[in-house]
Amino acid sequence: MEWEVVIGLEIHAQLATKSKIFSGSSTAYGAEANTQANAVDLGLPGVLPVFNEEALRMAVKFGLAIDAEIGMKSVFDRKNYFYPDSPKGYQTTQLHHPIVGMGHIDIELENGESRRINVTRAHLEEDAGKSVHEGFDGMSGIDLNRAGTPLVEIVSEPEMRTAKEAAAYFKKMHSIVTYLGICDGDLSQGSMRCDCNVSLRPKGQEEFGTRTEIKNVNSFRNVERAINTEIQRQMDILEDGGSITQETRLYDADKDETRSMRSKEVENDYRYFPCPDLLPIIIDQEYVDAIKATLPELPDAKKARFQSEHGLSLMDAAVLSSDRQLADYFEAAANISGDYKIAANWVMGDVSAALNRLEISISELPVTAEQLGRLLSLIKDNTLNNGGAKEVFNALLDGKGTDGAEGVDALVDSLGLKQVSDTGAIEEIVAQVLADNPKLVEGYLATPEEKRGKAMGPFIGLTRKAAKGVNPQVVMDVLKQKLSEL
């Protein structure tokens, strides 16, 4: 039978506020256990929540970025369940009146087309703490530092049909929230996590099949792998005439398999009701408009502009606009040099390679956009050739040279990389090279006319060896001239 895959994602993005959603505790990552959990976060008797204005602002910003309806009245509800990382025995979330309603984003497919995926809703809620299972002598240790970190949970419509689309959607959301600066997007620290709802149905059937939910997948690659694995598992069961159990599953990346989470098997009845400690959040159009005015240029707009203004290809524009910092870096360097194509090639080439090799982000790169821009300017005005530019770039990566554009110039000087473009000087060097290598000259002259271009190679090499930084184009021209005179 031919099956159609139905995928919906729930993405949890931690909002980049300084303090927690309902308390004044810090949200900084990596602190010692329970040192950032105050009376409110611990759920001590008698404490009360007060809502963080920045979390609201960020959620509205997100809603505007995905062209969604904004909840002018939103309400916090309590979702009741017992688990040791949930200190109050309920999670404060939004069920019936979320801050963000129906919206949408466009994802890029591999064939270069884009596809619209609708977002059902996004609501504000508090994160849970963490359970640590190792090192406590058969017990579990509970760390509530993360408890109360603000989250937006972004719920998609079940509109994705392949694992690749799901990964592209997750990537696009990542790109949007980091562009907005409302989430640091650090997947390894759990700043963004994804629950994948997967089901299969016979092609052409309207009704959805039974779905499973794969919890807490935390990388783009694993979203794709986990979903593909789950699709295969479900297909095997269905092909064998079996049926799918609606359940929560975990993805084990090492074994590339999903397994049932037994602890969640107990049927939950969350008994949602409006949180009586918090009042309805009412916002007006003025508030929304003020936030709208602060929206940065978003990835899609930037991509289009890179194509139309800077003449980049769709692919280059897509790559360079996917990350806001990368895009800003590119644009700054390109603006200084005035050559967007060279800048694009450098950022996607040497710069990206360096980031991968050093495992750092663009903000940590020792070569600033100003320095790269200067470097590119020097290529453009023939002061440097490509090889020389790479040498300067690598020197800067190694921490050599001083700050700013002057640092680049100083390195060019100290490394002796300034390209010699003076024809007179090059003529002298070439004459010397020809005089020193009569055998090569002889061989050259014996070469048939049509193959002489290639035979010129050794002279170019020798000339450049004799004088570092000569302009290859000028060398070529002078050589051609001199050889033809022989």
Partner: protein, 95 residues
């Protein structure tokens, strides 16, 4: 509405309350009586009445995003039943 004993057990389990078997029937009676009392609500015509969650129909106030808390772990964990290395200890929970 009258509850049966299974319902009483189910509610107790939902609320994580251990109830001794010999007490189930007493809970069954008392809870059924309470539900009978509140069942009077069913007869009230509330068409078009907006549910009232708070007495004052007030609006949520917002807090500035400022870190105001310092680490008080030791103070808070003095009253905890079991801790180790700054963590609250519970019987192992495995996913």
């Amino acid at each position: 509405m009258a509850l049966d004993q299974d319902q009483v057990r189910k509610i107790a389990s939902l609320a994580r309350l251990q109830i001794d078997d010999n007490q189930i029937s007493e809970y069954q009676t008392n809870l059924s009586n309470i539900l009978h009392l509140v069942d009077q609500l069913a007869a009230v015509n509330t068409d078009g009445v907006e549910p009232m969650a708070h007495p004052l129909d007030a609006v949520q106030r917002l807090r500035a995003d400022v870190v105001t808390e310092e680490n008080q772990r030791e103070h808070f964990q003095k009253i905890a039943p079991a801790t180790a290395e700054g963590h609250y200890l519970v019987p192992r929970v495995v996913e």
